[in-house]
Amino acid sequence: MPRIVLFLLSGIIFGAGLALSQMIDPARVVGFLDLGGRWNPALVATMAGAVCTTALFYWLARRRAAPLLGGDCLAPMPTRIDTKLVAGAAIFGAGWGLAGICPAPAIAVSVLNPAALLFLGGFAAAMVIMRRLNRR
């Protein structure tokens, strides 16, 4: 299978999962974060399903010398727990709580409700600005 077809299929399956679990609905995400109000535990089930399934595949991937379509295995990922990680995650969480949406659901839901494009505009702008700042 050509790589490009695999990437398209993975994107479609990912998007299907986001819709099936209704994680594309900001009310679901805010419901999960609303611990002091009316807490919606649905995201726990979604995350459990996603993490367990991914872990199974990652275990299979580790037993192979190379990916099925060839090419290199994943380079070692950073392991350092530093201020940048914690500050970044804190800023990310603030934005996540503010609108109940994160990048994957925003892209997935953009055809169903274009309001998500406002979020994506801010997201893309921040990415571009951070890359520019980092290159200096």
Binding site: G15, A19, F57, G95, G97, L112, G122
Partner: protein, 139 residues
Amino acid sequence: MTVVSLTPLDWLLSFSGGILIGLAAGIMMLAAGQVAGISGIFQKALSGRGEAVVFLLGLPLGAGAVSGIMGMATPEAFAAPWRLVLAGLLVGAGSYLANGCTSGHAVCGLARFSKRSLVATIVFISTGMAVVAVVGGVS
């Protein structure tokens, strides 16, 4: 605190949706050696990598198809425009600094038992909860 009571069907759909997300992330690693972190893929798409663009295009295709086939209601509970833009800016800057968003840390990172991703996940769920407690829901 009150807990929203979910029907068995709600639980099943939530869990099955998660399995599909995991299947997509798993295929990406097993077949292509790639982490399915959306903010990372988004950066590759910005740099003009075709396969990253195609993955991102698949997201609305899959979500639109499932919503249509299942006859699901279109999500309407979006925040006010200024709040959506500000949230996007914060999420973009935060995921750039932390090298990952929900998919990269809370799905792929936890699946490979990364301590770094566990810390990121705990931090962003905590600040997300704090912000919702202070500013309230999106509507």
